[in-house]
C-alpha cells in the first residue's frame, strides 16, 4: 500500500497553484486534506503524475459572512473549522448539524470542505447538503473564474463539472429563507462511517402553512447526491400532515432513488431507509419551520 512515484509541488499562492494546474492539467491532482486522495493512491487506484498541494495557501482557508446573510467557505477550510464556526452555526444550522456525521474527529482535523465537494463521493454528506441549500461552487483557473450551482456541479460518480485545470476555491451558502425548517438524518453502520443513507432536508412553509420549495437531498443512494424531486412535488402546496409526509417519503423511496447494493446494505434495505429517514426528516423540518422546538 505505497503509492507509485509522483512529482510534488507546494505552491504558496493561488496564482502559483493555478499556473501549475494550467501546466499539468490532466496528469495533476490537487492535494487538500488527503483523507480520500492518499488512500486511493496507496491502494494504487489513483496514480496522478503530479500532486499540487494546496495546504500552504492561507487565502483558501476562510469562513466569511456574505452580504446576503449567508456564508462563504474557503475550499481549504478544515471540517473541524466548519464544525466549530459560530457563523456557520448561526447562518447554516443544517450544515452545523451535518458536520459531526462526517467521519471521525481525526479525519475532520485534516479533511477539507472543498475537498469533500470536489471529491463528490456519492456517500458524502456535504454534496447532498449543498444541493439541499442550493449552494454554489467557485471554480478558478488561469482562464478565469465561474460560479457553478450545486445542481449542476455534481454530475456522477466521483465526477463534477470541474475542468481539468480548475480548482475549487470557495463555496457560497445562501441565507436560510424565512419560515424555513431543516433536518439532517443519517444511518451508518458505525459512528463516523460513510452513511448507508443520509438525508438533508430544507423546506419553507408559506403563510397558510403549506409546503413551499421542498429540498430533500440524499446521499448513499445513487451516483451522486440525489435530489428527491418527486417527493418534493407531492408536498408542494400541501399542508404537511402525517399522511402527506408519509406519501412523500414513500414516493422518495420508490421514484426518486435507485440505490445500489454493496456488502453493507442491499438496494431494498437502502430504499426502505430512504422511506424511514425521509419521513423523519420531513417531520422534523416542518416542525422547525412552524417554529416548534425539535
Amino acid at each position: 500500500m505505497k503509492p507509485p512515484p509522483f512529482a510534488y509541488h507546494a505552491p504558496t499562492t493561488l496564482d502559483e497553484a493555478l499556473q501549475l494546474m494550467a501546466e499539468h492539467g490532466y496528469g495533476a491532482k490537487v492535494l487538500a486534506g488527503g483523507q480520500s486522495l492518499i488512500a486511493t493512491m496507496n491502494f494504487r487506484l489513483a496514480a496522478p503524475a503530479v500532486l499540487i498541494d494546496l495546504n500552504k495557501i492561507p487565502e483558501l482557508s476562510i469562513i466569511q459572512p456574505t452580504a446576503e446573510g449567508g456564508a462563504l467557505v474557503g475550499a481549504m477550510t478544515r471540517h473541524v473549522q466548519v464544525e466549530q464556526s459560530e457563523l456557520i452555526a448561526r447562518t447554516a444550522p443544517l450544515l452545523h448539524a451535518t458536520m459531526p456525521h462526517i467521519a471521525h474527529p481525526q479525519i475532520r482535523n485534516r479533511g477539507t470542505f472543498g475537498g469533500s465537494i470536489a471529491h463528490a463521493d456519492p456517500a458524502a454528506e456535504l454534496p447532498a447538503f449543498l444541493r439541499a441549500v442550493r449552494g454554489q461552487v467557485l471554480a478558478q483557473s488561469r482562464r478565469g473564474q465561474r460560479w457553478i450551482d450545486a445542481d449542476d456541479f455534481f454530475i456522477g460518480l466521483f465526477s463534477t463539472a470541474l475542468e481539468p485545470d480548475e480548482i475549487v476555491t470557495a463555496v457560497r451558502l445562501p441565507a436560510m429563507p424565512a419560515r424555513s425548517g431543516w433536518s439532517m438524518q443519517e444511518l451508518s453502520r458505525r459512528h463516523g462511517d460513510f452513511a448507508l443513507v443520509a438525508v438533508e432536508a430544507l423546506l419553507t412553509l408559506d403563510a397558510d402553512g403549506a409546503c413551499d420549495d421542498v429540498r430533500l437531498a440524499f446521499c448513499g443512494v445513487g451516483e451522486g447526491p440525489v435530489l428527491a424531486t418527486a417527493a418534493a412535488a407531492v408536498l408542494q402546496g400541501q399542508r404537511p400532515t402525517a399522511e402527506v409526509i408519509e406519501a412523500a417519503a414513500a414516493i422518495a423511496a420508490s421514484d426518486d432513488v435507485d440505490p445500489h447494493s454493496d456488502v453493507h446494505a442491499t438496494s431494498a434495505y437502502r430504499r426502505h431507509l430512504v422511506d424511514v429517514l425521509a419521513k423523519r426528516a420531513l417531520t422534523a423540518a416542518c416542525a422547525r419551520a412552524a417554529g416548534e422546538e425539535v
Partner: protein
C-alpha cells in the same frame, strides 16, 4: 510464599514503554543495508499457473532479486503440518499444507506467487505491477455444502474429494435418549467467516550474519521457539545458529501462532542468499488475504429434552471450512465439538463433523478458536427449547448445570490436547446468580421491559453461559535469576502478544522472592534467552508459563533460604523474604539483602563448595496433565429500532471465573477486549466472498471492526474457583470474552423483537440482515 502481589490490580510494567512509543515492534527494527519485500499475489481464487514473466521486474532499478517457486529450487516444499489429528477412532485427516510460493496452482485469492526484493517497499510494489502471471481460471469452491458435491472441482487434485477431515465422537447413547425425550428440536445454524484483524499486521526482519554464521529473525509470532527450531531444520542450520525474537506484538489472537507462513519461510532464506538484512511488513490489504481467517461452520443440531427442560441428549453434525490448506489440523472444529456441551450435564451426545477445503484463505484458530461455534449452537438450542417449553431462559440453564459435586467431570470426548476432556473444577450457579443480579434480570423482565414496551420501545435481555477449555500442555519453562543488583531476571519462551505478561508474571515472582513486581524484568520470546516452550495461545500463558515461572521462582527461593540460613545462622523456617531482604522473622535486624546474597553466590575468588551452583538462579518447567476449564456468564440489554433495524447496547455484564486471578486489572482488560471482538463478530464484522472466491471486504471500510463508539462500558464480575491441577490455581482467560457474545446478541434481539417472533440462527447479524428477517415476518403476517 506470601500473596502480597498476586490478586492485586497493579498497573502494567510494560505500559510506560508502550504508551510513550519506546517499545520495540518488528517494524522498528532498522538494519544497515536492509532490503524490502513485496509479493505478487494471486488475483484468482482457483487456477492453474501457465506462465510467469518477471523479466521487466528483474530489470527495474532498485530491484535486487525476484523469486518464483522455480527459483527456490530444493528449498521449495509445503509447510510442516503443525498439529496432527487427534487420536479418535475412525478419524480421516488429509494434510495439505501451504506452500512458500504457488507453483502449479493457486488455491485462494492472495496466495503468494512471486517474491520481489528491492531497495525499498515502494520500488518492490512498483515491481509487483510489472510481473505478469498467466493463470487459467478454474471454478472456485466457495460454498461449504457444494464443496462436497460429487461434481465439485477438486482443490487438491491428488485427493478424491474436497474432504479434509472427518471425526465422529460420542458420549452415552443419543438415540435411546431421544426415544425417551418429551421434546426433540432440530435446527440448522450458521456461523460465518471472520478475521482477527490485530492492530499490528504481521512482519518479519531476517538477517544472516556470515561472520558469526548466525541468523537472527524478528517475527510477529506467538511461538518463537517453534519457529526457531523449524527454521533451523528448513535452512540446514543448527538450532543454536538461529535466534528468533518475538518483540512486542500488536495483538496476535491466534493467526500469528506458528504458521510457517510463506513470508516467514522465505525471508530468512533470501537473507542468506543475498547476504543482506531483509524486511517484510504486511500491509492491511495483504492481511485480509494472507493472514489466516476463522469461522464458517454449518450445524445441523438436535436437542432432546424432558418437558421440565432437562437435556437428555444432543446430536450435532457440522461442516467446517478450513480454507485452501489445513496445516493447523483439527483444533478449531475439535474445539467446537468439545465446547458445545458447555456448563451442562448432558449424558448423551453424538457429534460428527466434516472439514472441507475451499478456495479461501486458510482457517486456523482465532480467539475462541471454534469454541464460540459450539457455544452458539447449544445456547441457541436451549433458547428455542425454553421458548417451546415455556421455561425462563436463565432457569433452563440452571436446571442443566453440572452440579459442583460432580467435578472432576468427564465429558469423555478427545479434546484439542488429545486427552479426554475432563472439567477440573467449576461452580456455575453463583456465576449465573451474580450476572442476573448485576444486570437486574428479574426487575428488568417484570418492570422495566413492560414499561418500555408500553412506550413503544423494543428492548430485550439475554443471558448465556459458556465454558472454555484452557491452559493445555505440553509445557512451558522459565529461568529466574536474582542479580547482584537485587533485580530479578525472568526468561521464558512463551512469547507475548499484549496480555500483560510482564506484569502478571512479575507478580508471581515478586510473591515468591519478596521483591517488588517493578524489580522483576521479564524476557519472553527471545530464543537466545530461553529456548524451550511452545507459545502463547489457547489461553495458556497464565496457567502453563505462570506455573513454570512460579516453580522456577520457588526453586530460587529455596536457594535463597538455604544460603541466607547459613549466612544469618538461623534456621530456614525462621526466615522471611520481604522488600528485597531475607530476615529473621523474630529478629528483623538480622537481615541480608538479596543483592548481597546474589553477589556472595557468585564469588570472584575463593572456593565454591562442591555440589553447589553459582548464583541465585533456577530453571523449571510446568506441564499440566490436561487443560483446565474456565467458565462464565454474559448478560446484555439491547434496544432495536425495528424501523431501521439498528441496535444499541444499553447494558452489558460479564461474570467470569478463571480460578485464581493474578491481576484483576489485566483479566478485566482481557475480558473487555474479548467482548469487543465478540461484539464485532456478532454484529459488525463479516468476511464476504463472492461466488468466484473474490474477497469483497478487504479493507476497514468494508470489514467493520467495532470502535469505542460501538462497545459499551462493561460491568465485569469475578468468581473464583481455583483449579486443583496447578499450584497457582489459575485457569486461562485470554479467549473467554469473545466466546458467548454471538448467541447473546441473538437472544437479546429476539427478546427485543418478541412481537415479531423471530428466530435468529446465524451469526453475524447486521442491520441489513435484521431488516431481512423482519421483512420475512412481515410477509408471513
Amino acid at each position: 510464599m506470601s500473596k502480597r502481589y498476586i490478586g492485586q490490580r497493579i498497573k502494567r510494567n510494560e505500559d510506560p514503554a508502550l504508551l510513550t512509543g519506546q517499545a520495540l515492534f518488528t517494524d522498528d527494527v532498522h538494519l544497515p543495508g536492509m532490503l524490502h519485500v513485496a509479493f505478487v499475489r494471486s488475483d484468482y481464487a482457483h487456477g492453474r499457473i501457465r506462465s510467469i514473466d518477471a523479466s521487466y521486474a528483474r530489470e527495474m532499478p532498485g530491484v535486487v532479486a525476484v523469486y518464483t517457486a522455480a527459483d527456490l529450487g530444493a528449498y521449495w516444499r509445503p509447510g510442516p503440518p503443525l498439529v496432527s489429528p487427534p487420536p479418535v477412532k475412525g478419524a480421516i485427516f488429509n494434510a495439505r499444507t501451504q506452500v512458500p510460493l504457488a507453483k502449479d496452482k493457486v488455491r485462494h485469492v492472495g496466495e503468494a506467487i512471486v517474491m520481489i526484493v528491492a531497495e525499498s517497499r515502494y520500488i518492490a510494489e512498483d515491481a509487483v505491477e510489472q510481473v505478469f502471471v498467466d493463470i487459467e481460471a478454474l471454478p472456485a469452491v466457495v460454498d461449504l455444502e457444494k464443496a462436497l458435491a460429487p461434481d465439485a472441482i477438486l482443490i487438491h487434485e491428488d485427493l478424491d474429494s474436497n474432504l479434509a477431515a472427518y471425526i465422529f465422537q460420542q458420549k452415552g447413547d443419543y438415540e435411546s435418549a431421544r426415544a425417551q425425550a418429551d421434546v426433540v428440536i432440530k435446527r440448522r445454524l450458521y456461523y460465518d467467516h471472520g478475521i482477527a484483524a490485530a492492530m499490528e499486521n504481521r512482519g518479519i526482519v531476517a538477517t544472516w550474519d556470515a561472520k558469526t554464521q548466525r541468523l537472527t529473525m524478528w517475527d510477529t509470532t506467538q511461538a518463537p521457539v517453534v519457529i526457531r527450531n523449524g527454521m533451523a531444520a528448513m535452512l540446514g542450520l543448527s538450532e543454536s545458529q538461529v535466534r528468533v525474537i518475538a518483540p512486542f506484538i500488536g495483538g496476535g489472537f491466534g493467526p500469528k501462532i506458528m504458521m510457517f507462513y510463506p513470508e516467514e519461510v522465505l525471508l530468512p532464506w533470501a537473507s542468506m542468499q543475498l547476504q543482506r538484512p531483509i524486511k517484510w511488513i504486511e500491509d492491511r490489504r495483504e492481511n485480509f488475504f494472507a493472514t489466516t481467517h476463522e469461522r464458517d461452520q454449518i450445524h445441523w443440531a438436535e436437542i432432546a429434552l424432558t418437558k421440565e427442560g432437562r437435556v437428555l441428549g444432543f446430536k450435532d453434525e457440522f461442516i467446517h471450512d478450513t480454507g485452501a490448506y489445513d496445516p493447523y489440523g483439527l483444533t478449531v472444529p475439535i474445539n467446537s465439538q468439545c465446547t458445545l456441551l458447555g456448563c451442562y450435564d448432558v449424558p448423551n451426545y453424538a457429534s460428527e463433523f466434516k472439514v472441507v477445503f475451499t478456495n479461501k484463505t486458510l482457517v486456523t484458530p482465532y480467539r475462541g478458536a471454534g469454541r464460540q461455534h459450539g457455544v452458539f449452537v447449544m445456547e441457541r438450542m436451549l433458547d428455542i427449547a425454553a421458548r417451546q417449553l415455556g421455561i425462563d431462559r436463565a432457569e433452563i440453564r440452571r436446571r442443566n448445570f453440572i452440579p459442583p459435586d460432580k467435578f472432576p467431570y468427564n465429558n469423555e470426548l478427545i479434546y484439542q490436547d488429545f486427552v479426554p476432556l475432563v472439567y477440573d473444577s467449576g461452580n456455575y450457579e453463583p456465576a449465573l446468580d451474580k450476572a442476573l443480579e448485576m444486570i437486574g434480570y428479574e426487575q428488568f423482565i417484570s418492570e422495566e421491559q413492560p414499561r418500555l414496551r408500553a412506550e413503544g420501545r423494543h428492548v430485550g435481555i439475554g443471558v448465556v453461559t459458556y465454558v472454555e477449555g484452557t491452559g493445555i500442555g505440553p509445557y512451558e519453562g522459565a529461568r529466574v535469576q536474582v542479580e547482584s543488583t537485587g533485580k530479578v531476571n525472568v526468561s521464558t519462551g512463551i512469547g507475548t502478544q499484549g496480555q500483560g505478561h510482564f506484569t502478571s508474571f512479575a507478580q508471581v515472582v515478586a510473591d515468591q522472592l519478596g521483591v517488588s513486581p517493578r524489580d522483576v524484568h521479564l524476557v519472553t520470546g527471545d530464543t537466545d534467552q530461553f529456548h524451550w516452550g511452545t507459545g502463547t495461545f489457547a489461553s495458556r500463558g497464565a496457567v502453563v508459563a505462570g506455573n513454570a515461572i512460579n516453580a522456577a521462582a520457588a526453586a530460587v527461593r529455596r536457594k535463597i533460604l538455604a544460603m541466607a540460613s547459613r549466612e544469618l545462622e538461623a534456621p530456614e523456617e525462621d526466615l522471611e523474604l520481604v522488600d528485597g531482604v531475607v530476615r529473621d522473622k523474630k529478629n528483623p535486624e538480622f537481615a541480608i539483602a538479596l543483592k548481597d546474597l546474589a553477589a556472595k553466590a557468585n564469588p570472584l575468588r575463593g572456593a565454591v563448595r562442591p555440589g553447589t551452583e553459582p548464583g541465585l538462579e533456577a530453571t523449571d518447567y510446568f506441564g499440566p496433565e490436561r487443560g483446565v476449564t474456565a467458565n462464565g456468564v454474559h448478560a446484555m440489554i439491547l434496544e432495536v429500532d425495528p424501523e431501521t433495524a439498528m441496535i444499541k447496547i444499553l447494558k452489558y455484564v460479564a461474570v467470569h471465573d478463571c480460578g485464581t486471578v493474578l491481576n484483576p486489572l489485566i483479566v478485566d482488560g482481557q475480558v473487555q477486549g474479548g467482548i469487543a471482538q465478540g461484539i464485532g463478530n456478532a454484529f459488525y464484522e463479516k468476511i464476504v466472498y463472492d461466488d468466484n472466491g473474490q474477497l469483497l471486504t478487504a479493507s476497514f471500510m468494508d470489514y467493520l471492526l467495532p470502535t469505542s463508539m460501538e462497545v459499551p462500558s462493561l460491568d465485569i464480575g469475578h468468581e473464583t474457583t481455583p483449579s486443583p491441577l496447578n499450584p497457582l490455581g489459575t485457569k486461562g482467560t485470554g479467549e473467554a470474552g469473545a466466546i458467548p457474545v454471538g448467541p447473546l446478541f441473538a437472544q437479546a434481539v429476539e427478546d427485543a423483537l418478541a412481537e415479531y417472533d423471530l428466530e435468529v440462527l446465524e451469526i453475524p447479524l447486521s442491520p441489513n440482515r435484521l431488516f431481512e428477517l423482519l421483512q420475512s415476518k412481515n410477509k408471513d403476517a
